[in-house]
Amino acid sequence: MDLNALGIETNFGRLDWCIVIGYLLIIVAVGVYIKRYVSNVTDFIVAGRGLKTFLAVATMIGTELGLVTVMYSAQKGFTGGFAAFHIALASAVVALVVGLSGFIVVPLRRMGVMTIPEFYERRFGRRVRILGGTILAFSGILNMGMFLKAGSLFVMGITGMTSEYELKVIMSVLLGMVLLYTALGGMVSVVVLDYIQFVVLSFSLLATSVLAIRHLGWHNIIEKVSELQGEAGFNPFHSEGFGTSYVIWMFFLGLVNCAIWQTAVIRACAADSIRTVKRLYTFASVGFLIRFLLPYFFGISALVFIAQNESLKNVFLPQGAKAASDVTLMAMPVFLSQILRTGLIGIVSAGMLAAFMSTHDSYLLCWSSVLTQDVVAPWFKKGLSSKARLLLTRIFIVAIGIFILVWGLWYDLGQDLWDYMAISGAIYFTGAIALLVFGIYWKRASKVGAYLALICGFSAILGLKPIQVLLGMDVSSAIVGLVVITFAITLMIVGSLIFPDRSISLERKE
């Protein structure tokens, strides 16, 4: 998209480029320097289980508040208005309940597992671990497949850059920097950099929110959304907006985000005690709220700003048609490029790009660890040495990096980025919910039930738009997700009752 052709000039200048480049170089140097503190695979994957409350909160929010989250949430705010706030509310309420009760995460920490499939092995056996690990890694890598694209659209929107070639080079260099420090420093690098990201991003997002309100006026924002979207822009249950099934789906996603998704659970596994785990989730519930709420607000502000600008309105809000997903994704960065002044726009962009890197590093580390610990290592009966595991994890980090570079360039999104993320994640978590909840809290949950739930969860892939186009279907991702979850839970219960594990059968005979 050429903003200059629309008579729009970005405020992003040379000073901002200097801020961004300087900040990113410092981040990478710190990340690489930290390698000296890593002595074994536990240090590498869970930072020696030495995270205390505040650092754990910062790193959890630093990871979850990434550029990709900001992009897809802003898009939801742009298309859904204030009604999108219900997603933030659901996320916070569920994280708070998990923090107060310790639901799922405390038993996992108590067991001392490093990954969720490791729990599968302890509860259901080695083969369930391998299958669960394979599905988890597949889903997770697919889920991060759109990260580069979202990052590219942000850079284009905020800097006004139009050359696709230059953009691809920049994104590849950013990815290369992440690969470098993640492969060397592991979780210790990740937590320290997440902390820095948390500080920079928290304060710059708060400042941006205040500026957006000052620029547009709160009452003007409310009036404009009301004019453009009517009641659906405020009431999440309205049938023309999100609707009830979507709201229920978001509560499931809230649970998944904090207690089932491996990148969040790994923080619980890395905490130094059970008390820290509970405090982490209680505090982080505010982070889970904000990571959605502020970007939704930026998306809503972008909607109002664009609606007041005729040339932008023709591109982003065409009459009688819906703008493409790639276009609505760019609304927020274009808005920021107009309201933020030189200097501040550099700091915000540096924070966002650093956040882009911080999400990548956590996800790369997470999925490569799962592939090493849960898919490859269980095949070796004598086990793999710590050195071999470290090497393998580093190889997987690079391999996943290459995959997402290719995938991000050719995959046609065809739906809101948030819905893509939700449904690609659902391939794993619809089955995982059944395994974790029933595996922890129901003694009779069996291996057969676990297999059935995992395989059923894989069918959530039907929610992806290109798959639906291929099969001639048109069902909302929320409906697909809810149906698959229901089936996975049912199969877990029925499979466990009909085919109980031998130990349970023997117990009953006695």
């Binding site: 002595s39 948390f198 928290s202 904000i290 709420l293």
Partner: protein
């Protein structure tokens, strides 16, 4: 619709205030946590070196 406008307005500003307070507390507390993490990791690396 008025209910939702009031609800989301209060919700937004209250969340903003809570997050601002949390950001300050976590920034300060996190700094001290990093110092103690490095100290414990340095001890482990030293032990590891002594053993090998």
């Amino acid at each position: 619709m008025n209910f939702w406008i009031t609800f989301w307005s209060i919700f937004f500003f209250a969340s903003l205030a809570i997050f601002a307070a949390l950001a300050v507390v976590v920034t300060i507390g996190g700094f001290f946590n990093i110092r103690s993490l490095f100290k414990s990791l340095t001890d482990r690396v030293d032990q590891h070196d002594d053993q090998s």
